[in-house]
Amino acid sequence: MIEFKNLHKRFGKLTVLDGLDLSIKKGGIFAILGPNGSGKTTLIKCLLGMVIPNAGDINFKSESVLKKWDYRNNLNYLPQIANFPPNLTVIELISMVKNLRPKKSKEQELIELFGLESFLNKKLGNLSGGTKQKVNIVLTFMFDSELIILDEPTTGLDPIALIHLKELIHKEKEKGKTILITTHIMSVVDELADEIVFLLDGKIYFKGSIDALKKQTENDNLEHAIANLISKQYA
């Protein structure tokens, strides 16, 4: 469904993506892992068309996405930092995003799930970080799209919201959606991910199932297995 071909991206002198090749098939949950600054967010932003690669190509449903924008109607994105215009209320923001995407949405269900009813008429500037993240999640999951991209979805969530989020991700997976997640929380990866993509030095260092990773690093614990991969960068 998604193919990155020989992707290069530099920011000034810093090379972030260095000839990255990756293909992701339709359906399932893919965890994109890697140490800080390994290019996870850059990779995702390239797919979204927010960062423009220096070289290489990206295909989504076997069509190049570079310089296009209408393909984004078929994907939902949860940004890492949720910062919304402070003058707007929650419900205004939701209706505005709905307005921008003429597509069926199920925000009511999600608002109830995360208990946001009492916040609907509050200004976004007055919400706490966790509540903003919940609004962020509602905005992401309210549309029915084939691809869902989550950049650090668990930031600031309380345990109940976290459980709801995991259920939500599971439900979407059962509908045959493709879900990309970046996170540093290994328990989330262990619980959710079907496959792991490990980024290091701007390339794919490992791609495969969790079991394959454990076998390769000869480690039973996922956290240690990942740490084992990361430590090679420092070696």
Binding site: M50, W69, Y77, N83, V97, L100
Partner: protein, 260 residues
Amino acid sequence: MLKILKYSFYDLMRSRWSYVYFIFYLLLGFVLLFLNNDVSKAVITLMNIIIVLTPLIGTIFGVMYYYNSKEFTELLLAQPINRNKIFMGQYIGISLSLTLSLVLGLGIPFMAYGLFKSAAIFDFSLLLVVGSFLNFIFVALSYNIALSTENKIKGFGYAILMWLFLAVIYDGIFLISLVFFNEYPLDKFSLLATMFNPIDLSRILILLKLDISALLGYTGAVFRKFFGTNVGMLLSMSVLVFWVILPVLRMNFKLRKKDF
């Protein structure tokens, strides 16, 4: 694009600063009319204020809006919208709301004073047209600066410097060069130099219309001698249009390569 424009416009109309700006012009209009007791005289005083102030406010609003709505812009960029349309919508939204503050803020006191019965109505409308042009020009210029500068503080600094340069320093350099090279024929040089500064250009445009020779100054006089009043006005107006189009084109060009 219209959706983004509508949203930016509402967002700004709701912010405190649009009202402060509107009320400032409202007060200014009333005070000037009260002090001058004459519409035509008030128009001249107003010109001197508009020509310096609208560029400053346009510059500050443009840079502020860009940096403040950065995260939200990123949210929009992930939606199925062309990125040029997002920024054009924002740009037109800011420029329009500033123009509305200007037109309403000054229009109300002048209308209350009996503008429609006065002969100065065309001069006054020209003043508002030029003020609107300056809004569109300086918001575009400041958006250009903000797009090219990641650092907020630096971007703000550059934008203010640009305003200072065009509003004050440019004239200074221009005058010094006139004094320094006064043995050479400077007509063409000064004509060209005026074209490169939208603030000077606006001043000449209004003065040509007001027909006050004493205030025209050197460039204005050269302008009139060279083109006559009508051609001069038409020419300066079209150069102002270019001053809007060029920064907007550069904005669109810059956006093609910009990472967010």
